[in-house]
Amino acid sequence: MNTMTRLVKNRIALAGLIIISLYVVIIVVSFFWLPFDPMEMNPELMLQKPSLSSGHIFGTDEFGRDILSRVMKGSAVSLMISILATLLGATFGILMGIWAGFLGGRWDNVIMRIADILFSFPSLLLAIFIMAILGENNANIIIAIGIVYIPQFARISRGAIIALKSNEFVRAARSNGAGSSYILFNHLLPNSIAPIIVQISLSLSVAILLESALSFLGLGIQPPEPSWGNMLSSARKVMMLAPWTAIYPGLAIVTLVLGFNLLGDGLRDILDPRLRNVR
């Protein structure tokens, strides 16, 4: 069975895929149509309860803005940040890890110490630091989260490379006279990809949580641009009066993160050969 078929057959991964696809659809729709203008303030409609008749089915926030429209608009931002931050962290982390694992010796030591240093920094604190230095805008959130991810990817890819390096087929390739970069790209990388893919899907989910935690602390995406985190942040003040301002953006976060987690867990089942045949 190839990976794709197994993916579809794995109910957990499939559930994740469905949720993520649903969000992709919502995002595409949000580019063309939203129930209301997500930025439009309306003093008469402050903190309206969710109701079908008014059309505000998730209710309105403290500025009378439609929460459903803002959640929809925010999904694009959240997904984009999560994907780009993971991409950034994965690219640099994997390069570092491969470099360290493949070269070994002193380089390995230096690179892994750098990863250790980043690792022993509390991650949210590190992200807060970077945000405070760079200033609050979307690109910087991506950078901040990406940097937090680098050591994790570096460790995983280094581990995978080291495990494989001692494998027989590498030795065979070497004795056949293959060069280092040839071995690296044709043998090592494809074979170490499984743990990295799993890590990527988990990172996608954690990025959404990190972004919303940063926004919650006022260091993430800046109003009036809606993001799930900053919606929760401003809801904190009014949630006792209007619980729906906190409930719906939170649910949006939970579902998308769950989607990535389901996918990641399913992938782990599929890609981890030790578990594949467990009955």
Partner: protein, 317 residues
């Protein structure tokens, strides 16, 4: 074994040195100074007054010089004085440590209490509907943003008098009941996500153990299922759970910044958050150094425990 520990301890030195360098220079890269925060926006400050204060704050020297002085002081165990309150940094941090330790401990206990039984149950019913449901629940627990969960708890329970006592943290030894009441919901908010992690590890590791030859042998020998679980599988399957617990304990100790913020708990997380907001350099530096040290030490201990428990793992780094 001893050589292994010594070697690992030696590698900690460059790591901690690196952390100290980064934190020291990074905090000073953040726009705004402690002095400016101190003055705020309501005071008519003259330049001479600012100079006077700068001297008072001890921030009137070049940064590299300040760094060297700080390193010297740290080695003597002196973490300096808060730029905001003027109090010595170390006692202030140590007074937060019990709360952070307790919060960590409580959430770990909750997580293990929830996670391990669910993980075992799930592994025993692999690929049944029950397993499927428990795994999805586990993943759901992992997907809940801590601060949202915390906010929902405050929303739901603060209506009941005394369910979530607010303010005036008291130590466990002082008033155990009030202490536990204060920390129950915060620990739960942190613990739920972590329980999901524990559950996943337990399940995977149990499944792996079931595959091992000796379990098969034990089964073949006609041992009852439950005795197999207890005497063999659980003992071996729990190992990776220890590792992940230790690893996360290090993380949790750094303080659950957002949880402490929502529940108004005076722990390390809130201390460091406010120190960043106020550019209180000595506090930020000390918190990061202490947390990093605890973190690497906990990791080291976990590695050692793991190595001791599993002779198959050769001690290498």
């Amino acid at each position: 074994m001893l050589r292994f520990i010594v070697r690992r301890l030696l590698t900690l030195i460059p790591v901690l040195l690196g952390v100290s360098l980064i934190v020291f220079f990074l905090v000073r890269l953040i726009p705004g100074t402690a002095l400016e925060m101190y003055m705020g926006t309501q005071v008519e400050a003259t330049p001479e007054m600012m100079e006077e204060l700068e001297k008072l704050f001890g921030e009137d020297k070049p940064v590299p010089v300040l760094y060297l002085e700080w390193m010297q002081d740290i080695l003597k165990g002196d973490f300096g004085y808060s730029l905001r309150t003027g109090r010595p940094v170390l006692p202030d941090i140590l007074s937060r440590l019990p709360l952070s330790l307790e919060l960590t401990l409580f959430s770990l206990i909750l997580a293990l209490l929830i996670g391990i039984p669910l993980g075992i149950a799930s592994s025993l019913r692999q690929n049944t509907f029950g397993d499927f449901l428990m795994r999805i629940l586990g993943l759901l627990g992992l997907s809940l943003p801590q601060f949202w969960l915390a906010a929902l708890m405050v929303m739901a329970f603060s209506g009941f008098n005394g369910w979530i006592p607010m303010g005036n943290y008291v130590g466990f030894l002082e008033a155990p009941l009030r202490n536990i009441k204060m920390l129950f919901f915060p620990s739960l908010a942190i613990g739920i996500g972590f329980a999901a992690v524990v559950m996943r590890y337990t399940r995977t590791s149990m499944l792996e153990v079931f595959q091992m030859d000796y379990i098969r042998t034990a089964k073949a020998k006609g041992l009852k299922r439950k005795s197999v679980i207890y005497t063999h599988a659980l003992k071996n399957g729990i190992l990776p759970v220890i590792t992940v617990t230790g690893f996360n304990a290090g993380y949790l100790l750094s303080g659950a910044i957002v949880i402490e913020e929502v529940f108004a708990l005076p722990g390390m997380g809130r201390l460091s958050l406010y120190a960043i907001y106020q550019r209180d350099y000595p506090i930020i530096q000390a918190v990061v150094m202490i947390v990093a040290t605890i973190f690497v030490l906990v990791n080291l201990v976990t590695d050692i425990v793991y190595a001791l428990a599993d002779p198959r793992i050769r001690l290498s780094d």
